[in-house]
Amino acid sequence: MREFNRREFLVGMTGTGLAVVLAACTPTQQPTQPSQPAGGLAKEQVIRIPLTEPPTLDPGLATDTVSLDVIVQLFDGLVGFDDAGNIFGIHAEKWDVSSDGITYTFYLRPGIKWSNGRPITAQDYEWAWKRNIDPKTASDYATTLFPIKNAQAIHEGKANPQTLGVRARDDRTLEVTLEAPAAYFLRLASTWTMFPLPREAIEKYGDKWTEAGNIVTNGAFKMSSWRHQQEIVLERNEDYWGKKPTLQRAVYRIFPEGAEEQVLAAYENDELDVARGIPPAQVDRILNDPKFKDQIKIFDQSGTMFIAVNNRRPHLRDPRVRKALGMTLERQVLIDRVLKVVAKPAYSLQPPGIMGRNPDIWPKEDVEAARRLMADAGYPNGQGFPEITFTYNTSAAWKALGEYLQQRWQQTLGIKVKLQEMEWRVFLQWRRTPEASQTYDVYRGGWLSDYEDPNNWYNVLWDSAEDPGVFNLGWKNPDYDRIVRQARAELDQQKRAQLYAQAEKILADEYPAIPVYHYGARHLVKPWVKNWTISRILGFAPLRDVQILAR
C-alpha cells in the first residue's frame, strides 16, 4: 500500500494556516482534567472520533486508511489475525487446505446475517470476489485476489469473471482454487477486498449503495447516518452474531483533509475523544504539557519509509555507493529533530513482524566506513561523483528531508544533491515514465503492509518482475528472485522462514534502497476512553473493544 499522502498534504497545508498562529502562542493553562476517571463504565457509551470524508465505503474498492476506518466496523470477512500473527475464524467456522496448497475450503458458521436480516451465504463471497476481480469494477486492490485461479487473466480482460476459481458448494461452503500454492493466502483472505458483499444492494443502488439508507452491512456496527463532509454515525448492531461491542454509538466527525490543527483544537475543547496525530508545529507544546502526559498513545505501524535508489544509473549501480549513502544518515536526529514524527530508525527495509527480517545484518550508521566504501568504489571524498537529484512530492516534511540529505551527504561524502519538488500527481505520473526511470537518482519512497506477510515486502517490492514498478528500478538478482518465488509458495513455515532469511541477507548485501525509519502513530486519547488501539496494518482503529469510562 502506498505511503499515506494525508500527512504530507497536511504538513504542506498547516504551514500556511493554523500552525503559524497557534505555534506562536504560548500554551495556556486550563483547568486540568482529572487524570484518572472515577471508574466504572459511563452510561452513555459514545465515542467521538475525527475523520476525513471517506472516498468510499465499498470494501471491494477501498484502498485507504480513512475508508477502512469505517469499513472494518461495518463489515466482517472469513478470518482474522491477531497481533501475534495467530489466525482465528470470523465468518469461517473452520477451513481446510488441500495437501498441495491449491484448494481452500471454508465452512461458514450458522446464524450470520446481513443487516437486512438475510443470512450471509457462501454465494455472497463468490459474487463479491467475481465482482471485485472484474476489471469493470476497477478495484485498485483487485491484485489481492491474484493468487486465485484465473484472477490475473480476468483482471487483464483476457478471461470471463465467471471463470474465477471460487465456488459456493452450498450456502455454507466456499471452495477456492488457487493458481499456484500461496502461503499467504489466508492473510489475503483476512483483508477487505475479500469480504462478502450484499449483491441486492449493489445491484439496486449502483455506486450509491454505500449511502446511509441503502447500505447493507454485516459487522458489529451498522450505519445510522452519513452526512457528507460532516458526520458519520454508527450504532451497535444488536443482531450481531458474535460478541457485541460495549459502545452504543460512534460519531465520526468529518474534517477537511489536512485539518490536523483543527482536530487538535477540537480535542482540546473536548469535542473529540481522540486526536490522531499531532501536527508537527504542536509536537513540542503537547509533549511538554503535563496535562497531556497520560493521553499520548504511541502505536507501531507495519511499514518503512525509505529512499528509493535508481539502480539503473551507472554511479548508483555499485552497492558500496548505496550503502555509503545509507550509512551516513543519523536516523534518530532525522526523526526527532528534522521531521518530528513518531518512528523507529530502520536498518532493514522490512518492518518488525515480517518473517525473515534481520536488521542486525544490515549496514549500520558509520560515517568512516561509509567514506571508505566510497573510496573503494572509486569516489574518494566524492571526487568524480556526479551531482545527484532527490525528487519528492510537495510537502514540508519531504522538503526538510531533502535539505537534510543535501547537507548530510555533502558534509560526509562530498556528494552534491539537487532537490526536485513535484506536485503529487505529477510526481506519480513522472515516476512511471521511461524518461524518469532512466534519469532520476533518488526519491522519497515508503511502503505500508497490506497484510503482514513477507510476500507483501520481499516479493511485491524487490522481485525483479516488479521492475519498473513502484520502488524497484533496475535492481535484479537472479538468486533473490528464485528464493522469494520459492518462498511465496512454501507451505512449511520453517522452510519459508529460512528462505526469506536468505532473501534478507541478499537485500542487506545489495542494499537496493536506503531504509530510513519504520512508521509509528501518536494519538491523543482522553482518559475516559479504554482500549483504544489501531491496526498495525494501515492504522485503522477497530472499535469493537473500546469502552467509555465514567468521568
Partner: protein
C-alpha cells in the same frame, strides 16, 4: 431595462463557454491524471475507467459530449474520487451551506461596514475615525487563515467561550466562521463608504441641503448616502459573489461542508468533472452578481438608465 437584462443574461453563454473551454484546456495540459496512484493501476482497469468516463474518446468529442450533457440534462458528470457522489450531488449538498454562511457574513459586513464607514466620514480626522480605520485596515489585510485560528485560540481555547471549534449543524457552529468571513468584506466596505461619503458630503447639493436647514441626519441618510452607495454597491456585488461561493480557508478551518474546498481539492485529486462543475458554477454566480450590480445602478442613479 428588461431588454438590457435579457441581453446580459444571453451574454452569459459565451462567458461560460469561454470558462468551459479554458478549464478544459488547462486540465488536459496539466500533467498527472486521476488514475495516477502510488500503486500503478493495471492497464486493463485504466481502459475500463477511461471507457466508463469517456476519457478514451478524442478530446474534441469529450469536449462536446460533456457540453451536451450539461446543456441537455444539466448533467455535470460523476466525481472520480468520491464515486458515490455526482457533481450535481456535490453542488446540491454543499453549495447551499456556502450560501448560508456567505449571506449571513455579507449581511453583517454590509450593515456594519456601511455604518462604520458613515461614522468615520462624518467624524473625519477624529479619534473615532482613526480607530475605525485602523480596524478597517487590519480587517482588510489580515487573511482569513490567520483570523480564524486566532479566534479559535483566543475565544475558545483561552477564554473558554462555549462555542464549537468547527463543524456544522447548529447556529452556534456559524458564529466563528461568519465573523471570520465577514471581517474582510466589512473592512473593505467601511473604507469604500468612508471615501465615497467624504466625496459626496463636499458636493454642492449637500451644501444646499444643509443651507435649506435640513437636519444633519436627513442630509446624511437621504441626500448623501444614496449617491455615496453607488461605488460601494459595485464592490459589494463582487464581494458577495466571492463570499457565497465559499472560502476555501474558512471552510477548511471550521470544517464547513461547503463548496469552496472542492475548488481546491478537485485540482489535487484531478477530479475533472468536479473542477469543471464548480468552475462553471462560480462563473455563473459571479456573472449574475455583476448583472445585479449593474441593474442596481439604475435604481440608485437616475442618470443611469438602460435602453
Amino acid at each position: 431595462m428588461w431588454k438590457y437584462a435579457l441581453k446580459r443574461v444571453l451574454l452569459l453563454i459565451p462567458t461560460l463557454l469561454a470558462v468551459y473551454t479554458l478549464v478544459f484546456i488547462l486540465f488536459h495540459l496539466t500533467p498527472g491524471g486521476p488514475w495516477d496512484k502510488e500503486r500503478p493501476v493495471p492497464e486493463s482497469v485504466q481502459e475500463y475507467l477511461n471507457a466508463k468516463y469517456g476519457l478514451d474518446k478524442p478530446l474534441w468529442q469529450q469536449y462536446v459530449d460533456y457540453l451536451i450533457g450539461v446543456v441537455t440534462r444539466l448533467d455535470l458528470g460523476p466525481s472520480y474520487k468520491y464515486t458515490h457522489l455526482t457533481v450535481r450531488d456535490i453542488i446540491g449538498q454543499f453549495f447551499p451551506n456556502s450560501i448560508q454562511v456567505g449571506l449571513i457574513a455579507m449581511a453583517i459586513a454590509v450593515t456594519l461596514g456601511i455604518t462604520l464607514g458613515i461614522l468615520s466620514a462624518i467624524k473625519q480626522n477624529t479619534f473615532l475615525d482613526y480607530v475605525l480605520m485602523f480596524f478597517a485596515i487590519f480587517g482588510a489585510t489580515v487573511p482569513t487563515f490567520v483570523v480564524g485560528p486566532l479566534l479559535v485560540w483566543l475565544l475558545i481555547l483561552t477564554l473558554g467561550v462555549g462555542l464549537p471549534t468547527g463543524g456544522w449543524g447548529t447556529p452556534r457552529h456559524l458564529v466563528l466562521p461568519v465573523i471570520t468571513l465577514a471581517l474582510g468584506p466589512m473592512a473593505v466596505l467601511a473604507r469604500y463608504t468612508r471615501a465615497s461619503m467624504l466625496e459626496v458630503i463636499r458636493a454642492d447639493y449637500i451644501r444646499t441641503a444643509r443651507a435649506k436647514g435640513l437636519p444633519e441626519g436627513v442630509v446624511i441618510v437621504r441626500h448623501a448616502l444614496k449617491n455615496a452607495l453607488i461605488p460601494v454597491i459595485t464592490v459589494a456585488g463582487v464581494i458577495l459573489a466571492v463570499v457565497i461561493t465559499g472560502s476555501f480557508y474558512v471552510e477548511f478551518i471550521f470544517s464547513i461542508p461547503g463548496i469552496g474546498q472542492y475548488f481546491v481539492t478537485s485540482v489535487s485529486n484531478r477530479d475533472y468533472p468536479v473542477l469543471m462543475g464548480v468552475s462553471l458554477l462560480f462563473a455563473t454566480v459571479i456573472a449574475l452578481m455583476n448583472l445585479i450590480v449593474d441593474l442596481a445602478y439604475g435604481f440608485l442613479d437616475p442618470r443611469i438608465r438602460y435602453q
